[in-house]
C-alpha cells in the first residue's frame, strides 16, 4: 500500500509536467491551429537559461523568474518571425516548420552547453514527508501543486480578464476579432509567449530530476502529445486529466506489470490511444468536429 501511494504521488508529479507541456500545446493549437513540436525543445532552452543565471550566483527562484520572462519574449518572437508566415497556410508545412524549430533549438542548446548531463539545482527541498504511512518526496508534491496553481491562474486569466477574452476571441475567429478592433497579431504573440512560459516552468521543475541535456524533454513531449490526443485538442481540462492519468498509470504499470517494466512504460499511453481510438475517435473529452466544405 505504501509503495502504491508513493507511486501515485510520483505519477501525479510527472503527470503534472506532461500536463503543463500538453496545455502549452493546446494553447498554441487554439490560437494558431498548429501543433508545436518544438514546445519541449523551447522548454529545455529555458531551463538552460535558468541554469546560466544560477551559475552566475543568483538564487534559484530569481533565475527561474528571469528564464520565464525571457521565454515569454522568445515565444512571442518565434510566433512573429517564424510561424506567422505559415499560420493560415498548409498545416503540414507549419508542422514541419515547428520540427525545424525543434531541431534548431536543440542544436543551439547542444552548441552552447554540449551533450553532457548538467546538474540542475532543485527549487524544492529534497526531503520527504509521510502521508498515510507512505514516504512521499516533497519535490513530487510541490511540483504537482505548483503546476495546479499555475493552471488555476491561467484558467482565471482566460475566463475573468479582458486579455483572456481577447485571446479566446482571436482563437475562435481571427477575422471577426480583427473587425472588432483587436490587435490579432499581438494577441497571437501573447498566446505563444504564454505557451512558452508554461513550457519553461515545466522545464525548470523537471530539470533537477532528469538532469539537463538538449534532448531532456523529447520523451516528455511524446507523453504530452499522447495526453493531447487522449484529452482532445480542444479540451484543456481533458488534457490535464489525461496527462495525470498517464503519469500515474505508467508508474503503476512499470512496477506491477513486469512484462512492461520501466523501459517500455512509454508504450502504455500509446496502447491506450490505440484502444480508445477504436472506441472514441474524438478523444475522451473532445467534441466531434464537423467539417464543412
Amino acid at each position: 500500500m505504501e509503495t502504491f501511494i508513493q507511486l501515485v504521488v510520483d505519477g501525479l508529479a510527472t503527470g503534472s509536467i506532461y500536463a503543463a507541456l500538453a496545455l502549452a500545446i493546446v494553447l498554441v493549437n487554439q490560437a494558431t491551429g498548429l501543433i508545436n513540436f518544438a514546445q519541449g525543445g523551447m522548454a529545455v532552452l529555458s531551463a538552460y537559461i535558468a541554469y546560466v543565471f544560477v551559475q552566475l550566483g543568483l538564487p534559484i527562484i530569481v533565475a527561474i523568474l528571469i528564464a520565464v520572462v525571457l521565454s515569454f519574449v522568445f515565444g512571442a518572437l518565434v510566433e512573429r518571425f517564424l510561424v506567422r508566415r505559415f499560420e493560415r497556410g498548409d498545416p503540414d508545412t507549419a508542422v514541419v516548420v515547428t520540427i525545424g524549430l525543434l531541431t534548431l533549438v536543440t542544436g543551439i542548446s547542444a552548441v552552447l552547453w554540449g551533450y553532457n548531463n548538467l546538474a540542475f539545482p532543485s527549487l524544492f527541498p529534497l526531503t520527504s514527508v509521510e502521508i498515510l504511512g507512505a514516504v512521499v518526496s516533497v519535490r513530487s508534491l510541490a511540483t504537482a501543486v505548483t503546476i495546479v496553481v499555475i493552471m488555476v491562474v491561467l484558467q482565471l486569466l482566460f475566463l475573468r480578464t479582458k486579455l483572456g477574452l481577447a485571446l479566446r476571441a482571436v482563437a475562435d475567429n481571427p477575422s471577426s476579432a480583427a473587425f472588432s478592433g483587436l490587435p490579432v497579431g499581438r494577441l497571437l504573440m501573447v498566446g505563444w509567449g504564454l505557451a512558452a512560459t508554461l513550457g519553461a516552468i515545466a522545464g525548470v521543475l523537471v530539470a533537477p530530476q532528469l538532469t539537463l541535456t538538449p534532448g531532456m524533454l523529447d520523451t516528455a513531449l511524446v507523453y504530452a502529445l499522447a495526453a493531447v490526443i487522449l484529452g482532445g485538442l480542444n479540451s484543456p481540462i481533458g488534457c490535464v486529466v489525461a496527462a495525470s492519468a498517464i503519469g500515474v498509470l505508467e508508474n503503476l504499470v512499470a512496477v506491477y506489470v513486469p512484462l512492461i517494466g520501466h523501459d517500455l512504460k512509454i508504450a502504455v499511453p500509446f496502447v491506450l490511444i490505440f484502444v480508445i481510438l477504436i472506441l472514441r475517435p474524438q478523444g475522451l473529452f473532445g467534441r466531434k468536429v464537423v467539417v464543412r466544405v
Binding site: I35, R85, I99, L104, I266, V293
Partner: protein
C-alpha cells in the same frame, strides 16, 4: 516550331540522358575509390527511405515522424533472416512484408485521427522502438546490436566487396524508384493528391480518405523495410541507435530539403542525409543538429519546393523575358493583336517580337 516536335525532341533528349546516367552508374563503382562507392551506397539506402516518406508525406500530405522505425525493423528482420540461413530473396521479401504489415496495423489506428494527429502518433514509433529493440534481445541482440554479412562479393564476379554492394543497392534502388514513379503517376497517385488537397472533395469523388491514407502509409512502410534491408547490406550491422528519434527527424528534414512530392527530390534528400552530416561532423560534431535545423528552416522560407525546385527557380529569376515570350507567342498568333499598348509586358523585347510576328502573320 510546333510544340509536338519540341516534345519529341525533349523526350529523345531525356532518353539519351537516362541512358548516359545508367551507363555512368554501372561503370562508376569500377572507377571510383572504395570510399566514394560506400558513400554512394549509403545515399541509395536512405534515398529509398526518403522515397517512402515522400509517398505518405509529400504525395498524400500526412506528416509521418516514424519512418526510421520501419528502416530499423527491416534491418533487424534482414539480420535475423541472414543469421538463420534464409535464402536472400526470402530475406528481402520478409523485410519488406513485415515492415508493411506493422505499418498497416499502425495506419489502421492512426489514420482514424484527422490530419496532424498522425504526426503525433507516429512520433511515438522511434521513441517506443528503441527500448523495444533493447528488450527483445533474443531477436535483436539488445543494446549490443546484431551484425550479419551477406554482401561479400562472390569469387566468380572478380569484384571488391564495395563494388558488389554497389550493384545490389543499385538494383533495388532503381526498382524502388521505378515502382514509386509508376505509382504516383497512376490511379493511386491521383488518389493520394486528391486526399492531400481536400479530403472532402476526395470523398465526394468516391476516394475513401481513410483507405488512401492507410494504403500510402503501408507503402511507405514497405519502402522503409526495403531501405532497412539495404542498410544491412551496406553497413552489415544494426543496433537500437539505428532507429533513434533524431534520425527520424533527420529523415523528415532530408525529405523536405530534397523536395516534397518529387521522385528526384527523394534522391537529393538521400544525398543530403548522408553528405551534410558527414561534412558538419568533420567540422564540429556539435554543429550537426543546429545546421540541420537552420538548413530546414531556410529551405522552408526560401525554397518551399526543396532543392529539386532550385533549377526552376533559378531559371525563372534569370531568364524571365524569354520565358514569357515563348508562352505568349501562340496566343499572340491567334489573337493577332497589333497594338503594343495592350501588351502586358511593356518592355523593349515585346516591341521587337511584335515586328517579327507581323512579318510572320498573314
Amino acid at each position: 516550331m510546333s510544340t509536338a516536335a519540341a516534345t519529341v525532341r525533349r523526350r529523345r533528349v531525356r532518353l539519351v540522358l537516362v541512358a548516359v546516367v545508367a551507363v555512368l552508374l554501372v561503370a562508376a563503382p569500377l572507377i571510383l575509390p572504395a570510399f566514394a562507392n560506400q558513400t554512394l551506397v549509403r545515399i541509395g539506402v536512405y534515398a529509398v527511405a526518403v522515397l517512402g516518406l515522400n509517398i505518405i508525406m509529400g504525395y498524400t500530405g500526412q506528416v509521418n515522424l516514424g519512418q526510421i522505425f520501419f528502416v530499423g525493423l527491416g534491418a533487424y528482420v534482414t539480420a535475423y533472416g541472414v543469421n538463420h540461413g534464409w535464402n536472400i530473396l526470402l530475406v528481402f521479401v520478409a523485410a519488406c512484408a513485415i515492415a508493411g504489415v506493422v505499418g498497416l496495423l499502425v495506419a489502421l489506428a492512426a489514420a482514424r485521427l484527422g490530419g496532424l494527429a498522425i504526426a503525433m502518433v507516429t512520433i511515438a514509433l522511434p521513441i517506443v522502438g528503441v527500448p523495444l529493440a533493447k528488450r527483445l534481445a533474443d531477436f535483436t541482440g539488445g543494446s549490443q546490436g546484431v551484425s550479419a554479412r551477406f554482401t561479400d562479393a562472390p569469387d566468380w564476379s572478380g569484384l571488391a566487396n564495395d563494388q558488389w554492394q554497389f550493384y545490389i543497392v543499385l538494383v533495388v534502388v532503381a526498382g524502388a524508384f521505378l515502382l514509386a514513379r509508376s505509382l504516383v503517376h497512376g490511379k493511386y497517385g491521383r488518389a493520394f493528391a486528391a486526399v492531400r488537397e481536400n479530403e472532402a472533395v476526395a470523398a465526394s469523388m468516391g476516394i475513401s480518405p481513410y483507405r488512401t491514407k492507410v494504403l500510402a502509409f503501408t507503402i511507405a512502410s514497405v519502402f522503409g523495410g526495403a531501405s532497412g534491408f539495404l542498410y544491412l547490406a551496406a553497413v552489415q550491422y544494426t543496433s537500437p541507435e539505428t532507429l533513434s528519434f533524431g534520425h527520424s527527424i533527420s529523415l523528415l528534414a532530408a525529405m523536405v530539403i530534397g523536395g516534397a512530392g518529387s521522385i528526384a527530390g527523394s534522391l537529393l534528400g538521400g544525398a543530403y542525409y548522408v553528405l551534410v552530416p558527414q561534412l558538419t561532423n568533420a567540422i564540429d560534431p556539435n554543429l550537426t543538429t543546429v545546421s540541420q535545423g537552420a538548413i530546414l528552416l531556410a529551405v522552408l522560407f526560401l525554397l518551399p519546393g526543396g532543392l529539386v525546385s532550385l533549377p526552376r527557380v533559378v531559371r525563372r529569376l534569370t531568364r524571365r523575358p524569354p520565358a514569357r515570350r515563348s508562352i505568349s507567342r501562340p496566343a499572340a498568333e491567334t489573337s493577332q493583336q497589333t497594338t503594343p499598348a495592350h501588351r502586358p509586358v511593356p518592355d523593349a523585347a515585346p516591341e521587337e517580337r511584335e515586328q517579327t510576328e507581323r512579318q510572320d502573320g498573314p
